[in-house]
Symmetry: C2
Subunit: 236 residues, 2 copies
Amino acid sequence: MSSAEVSGGAFTSQPAILFDLDGTLVDSVYQHVLAWSAALEEAGIHLAVWRIHRRIGMSGGLFVSALGRETGRHLSSDEVQRLQESHVREFLKNHNQVRLLPGAKELLRHLSQSGIPWAIATSGSDRSAGPALKMLEIPQDAVVVTRDQVPFAKPDPHLFLRAAERLRVQIQNAIVVGDSVWDMLAAQRARALGVGLMSGGYGREELETAGAFRVYEDPADLLDHLDELGIRFPRT
Amino acid sequence: MSSAEVSGGAFTSQPAILFDLDGTLVDSVYQHVLAWSAALEEAGIHLAVWRIHRRIGMSGGLFVSALGRETGRHLSSDEVQRLQESHVREFLKNHNQVRLLPGAKELLRHLSQSGIPWAIATSGSDRSAGPALKMLEIPQDAVVVTRDQVPFAKPDPHLFLRAAERLRVQIQNAIVVGDSVWDMLAAQRARALGVGLMSGGYGREELETAGAFRVYEDPADLLDHLDELGIRFPRT
């Protein structure tokens, strides 16, 4: 065995963590769901609310394709643009109801203090993610990748790949933490390890079926079980 | 074998169907979730929205016990009363956003025309269920059992037992259709057959784990697959 094999090559003993935002660190999924519902109704498109919930976190383009299939209606690029704008407007209208998820700030602070690299990678735009990032009070130099910085959002792997690149870590050495099956699919496509949180409203079994190695309730629960992910700086 | 055994005793070849209301026939779960969230915030109680979603459809009393465990706060019966009232007030505020689920009316109409007994059994009160029942345009003599008519709501079996009794069918011969694990638990406790719908936002796997014999997307999907439940009057 060569020394490179013994040392694990590009693998280090400490993984990096790449977080989704909505439903993972911030309790905003249900407000996003009803904002989409209102935007669609305004455009004369009726779609059951649970179907919207199951699409939250995926790229807007894919969401619109799914819409086309499920409502039988083709949307022009102008209509798509207007829909996305009215979703953001509806969402920001009720943003004062949005709270951080339990343990979100503490988890990020603990990782920073332990020297574990972390980043946030969201399918949301700079504009819709802005207020949540502010609530998290993350350091100025934290790595945040939004929809505006990559060609394709989740479940394409680009958001997580870009986040790993900016942290200067190998994606194979990263843990992706997210609340939706799109996060788990993007994690698998990026060849990262997926870990699910139930705080976006998906059930444990659904996340496991999508490839989650473990599922926790919320950031506080993850913080309490970091050792289960092989993270050598558990909270003391 | 006696002739009673051959004929199946109390079992007839045509089952009755007992429906839950919110999330099963009416697309109202997400509005209920955010109405509870607003009512709790008003009372100074912060609970992540997904935890509320996972409690929708269970009895108010159990919901409040779960709240006590998850927030560490004991609520007086006055506080519980006020919470329930402010939930109904918040819900009715946004009731104009609530729609029927696809196929709900058609499914009930098809069952009536085929002579298959059906009833609605909801953990909701007469007051909160009223607008949804009106939208369904069900016949005057349809059997509807609400929280106000039984000592315990779901997951206790009382609502479904009372509905079967009023239809004059054996509960063992009934199929319970619902969108939440509380419906599936109540079905199991009542010794009825549980069938899940995904239209309340629970995932397929979660409903199956809770005992659903089959899981369909929504009432329209169920209507298309009645034969799979042994119902001998499929839609033609």
